[in-house]
């Protein structure tokens, strides 16, 4: 399953870091962060619950960039 989320982050490098962090989260098959449109496309693993996974993703993203936000 694929979903797109709106995000808020200030710098491009931070967006790259968020992408790495999101990809390292359990339940995420592939994540792409688009800094220009401030969007995150997440492809979930089979059977993963998007809401629960996204909470983990946000937690991991906050670790690498405190000033980021994901709206889900």
């Amino acid at each position: 399953m694929k979903k797109t989320y709106k995000i808020d982050v200030d710098c491009a490098n931070c967006a790259n870091k968020m992408e790495t962090a999101a990809n390292g989260t359990q339940g995420v098959k592939n994540a792409v962060v688009n800094f220009m449109t401030l969007k995150m496309n997440v492809e979930f693993d089979e059977g993963a619950e998007p809401k629960a996974v996204m909470e983990e993703v946000l937690k991991n993203c906050k670790k690498v960039e405190r000033d980021c936000e994901i709206f889900f």
Partner: protein, 628 residues
């Protein structure tokens, strides 16, 4: 500017003012240290906090941490030596100025690109009890009648029920000439209604309408990363640690070498200062921001010219195109037949056309329709009797009491009427006999588009080395068209499957490392579109299949757009390369200058912020595509 940016700007200005004031305050010792701590904390407290969180989360190598190490180091050096704290505060100040500018510039370009592509309609008008009501277009079901007033955007694709008007489709196609519509015509969302009130019966949902689809495409386009973007991400990942290690080496190796090998004083503080300056330069921001921004601006600029590029990677491949392969029908030619001449006629041309049009009046074959079109007035079917279709050969009928036969040579052979030779190099010949005697032949051809020749020439000017045409037509017709257009190579008589094989052959035969682009109209050439390095669909507006299959979509059917698309991509990639070389070049130069002691922390931070500003401004240039 949002609230966050405003607060930041205030902090920057306040710090700058404080620094000027402190410059004239004659205090020394601990008091001076405490006084300078005020602007330092004012400008840097969030950086300090971020660095602290970074350490706690084991994410040490981020730019906040580096800035903190560099500035704290500078403060410690100042404490032990001359008591000049300006440097630490200034570095933090410039770092924040750079950050602020970056956020501001990116926000601005994000908005201006957004405006450029602002074709998404906000509302739809429904007529409820004689009054207009504005509703969310998302809630309009297909089959609803919506009202579009002059000056409004068409929100949803549909068919005109009532009213005539002219439409401005510039936002979709980049074509500024208005298009006239009348009842029965289909209209696309995103067009602006210019003159009259229109009532439109919607044929799709909002989310599936042209405007929404195009916006989705463009917005998602920059998510497909180009190779240069990946290169930068990878580069950024190794760049920072490498520079940090270099800083460590600069701090330790030269003093130790001086001490041990040369017997000179170690000058610890000099080398420590140089090492700290290294840290200031270690942030890869200029690169990381300017490359995606360039691609985003390039894609935005292209879409404003009526060229949809479905990903940064395709923009990159398009810029490397050295061979363009065209499908003939519908791409270089109009894709519809028209009468191009009459030969060997024994009766007047107008009469021949009229009789033939009447005889063919029941047929919807493209050839019949072209004759009917050439005749002008719609045929009066009362005059025609006994129409008989001879499958694969033609038609016979009685028109005004005269026996008319129109068809290919086989039809006339069967009727026992001798035929003069055909002039097949121009097109297809339709033989006509009246009352058992040969009356003439009507030549019908798929005409090349008026702009096709210019389009091929423009490609050559844009740096394309070879143009190829693939067609299912016979060789004579194909050669004739290719000669007229200035196409280098022709492959004729191809079935759709042969075209895929030909494309593969052309791709593997490419020796200059360039890419092969295929241009088609998206109808039955989807496999070829996806097999080519870049598949370009033309005239694809409103055609989902073509938009789906292609990598680059030309919104209208003007082949000149392709040359423009290639020039846009070359410009964008040129800017990307400039930014890569410029940013890395300046950083390396700075590192060298700092290492030999020719530059201090001031220059380092100036170079860092300056490069970033210039790279961002350069990236925005990719947006301007009007004069390409």
């Amino acid at each position: 500017m949002n609230k966050k940016q405003k607060t930041m700007l205030l902090r920057i200005l306040a710090t700058a003012a404080l620094m000027v004031i402190l410059h004239f305050v004659p205090v020394t010792g601990p008091a001076r240290f405490l006084l300078y701590l005020i602007p330092y904390l004012l400008i840097g407290h969030d950086v300090l906090a971020k660095a602290w969180y970074g350490i706690r989360n084991r994410q040490v190598f981020d730019e906040c941490f580096l800035m903190v190490v560099a500035t704290l180091g500078a403060i410690v050096l100042a404490l032990t030596t001359d008591g000049d704290y300006t440097e630490a505060v200034a570095v933090m100040l410039f770092y924040q100025v750079g950050e602020w500018f970056q956020i501001y510039a990116v926000g601005r370009s994000r908005r201006s690109i957004g405006q450029l592509m602002d074709i998404r309609p906000d509302y739809a008008n429904l007529e409820v009890g004689g009054a207009l009501e504005r509703v969310d277009p998302d809630q309009v079901e297909p089959g609803t009648v919506i009202v579009i007033q002059p000056g409004e955007k068409i929100p949803i694709d549909g068919v005109v029920e009532e009213g005539t008007s002219s439409l401005d489709a510039a936002a979709l196609t980049g074509e500024s000439l208005p298009r006239e519509v009348a009842p029965g015509d289909s209209v696309l969302s995103g067009c602006v209604n210019l003159t009259g009130l229109l009532k439109v019966r919607t044929t799709r949902e909002f989310g599936e309408s042209t405007a929404s689809q195009i916006l989705d495409l463009v917005e998602n386009a920059s998510s497909r990363k180009a190779r240069s973007e990946d290169f930068i991400s990878r580069f950024a990942r190794v760049y920072t640690p490498v520079v940090c290690l270099a800083a460590l080496a600069v701090a330790l190796l030269p003093p130790l070498a001086r001490l041990a090998a040369l017997g000179l004083p170690p000058l610890w503080s000099v080398w420590l200062y140089r090492a700290l300056t290294f840290l200031v330069i270690s942030c890869p921001c200029a690169l990381v921001i300017s490359i995606p921004l360039s691609f985003f601006a390039g894609i935005g600029g292209a879409s404003s010219a009526g060229v949809l590029v479905k990903g940064a990677n395709f923009l990159e491949t398009l810029s490397k195109t050295t061979c363009v392969v065209f499908d003939k029908t519908g791409t270089l030619t109009r894709g519809t037949f028209s009468v191009v001449g009459v030969r060997h006629n024994t009766i007047p041309e107008a009469e021949l056309l009229e009789l033939t049009a009447l005889a063919e009046s029941a047929s919807s074959h493209p050839i019949s329709r072209s004759v009917q079109e050439a005749c002008g007035a719609p045929p009066d079917r009362q005059r025609v009797k006994d129409i008989r279709e001879h499958s694969g050969r033609g038609v016979t009928a009685v028109v005004d009491g005269r026996a008319v036969a129109a068809g290919n040579r086989r039809l006339l052979d069967e009727l026992g009427i001798p035929c003069p030779p055909e002039e097949t190099e121009i097109g297809t010949a339709l033989h006509v006999a009246v009352d058992g005697a040969y009356a003439g032949q009507i030549l019908i051809a798929d005409l090349v588009k008026p702009t096709a020749r210019e389009a091929v020439a423009a490609l050559t000017r844009a740096g394309v080395r070879e143009t190829v045409m693939l067609t299912g037509d016979n060789e004579a017709a194909a050669r004739q068209a290719a000669g007229e257009l200035g196409i280098d190579r022709v492959y004729s008589g191809l079935l759709p499957a042969d075209k895929v094989a030909k494309i593969e052959e052309l791709i593997s035969a490419r020796t200059d490392g360039g890419a092969v682009a295929f241009v088609g109209d998206g109808i039955n050439d989807a496999p070829v579109l996806s097999r080519a390095d870049v598949g370009v669909a033309m005239g694809a507006i409103g055609s989902d299949a073509a938009i789906e299959a292609a990598d680059v979509v030309l919104m209208d059917d003007d082949p000149r757009k392709l040359g423009k698309a290639i020039r846009i991509s070359r410009k964008c990639l040129g800017i990307v390369r400039q930014n890569i070389v410029f940013s890395i070049g300046v950083k390396v130069l700075c590192l060298l200058l700092v290492a030999v002691g020719l530059a201090g922390m001031w220059l380092a931070i100036f170079a860092d912020v300056g490069v970033m500003v210039l790279a961002v401004l350069n990236a925005v240039r990719a947006l301007f595509v009007k004069n390409l």
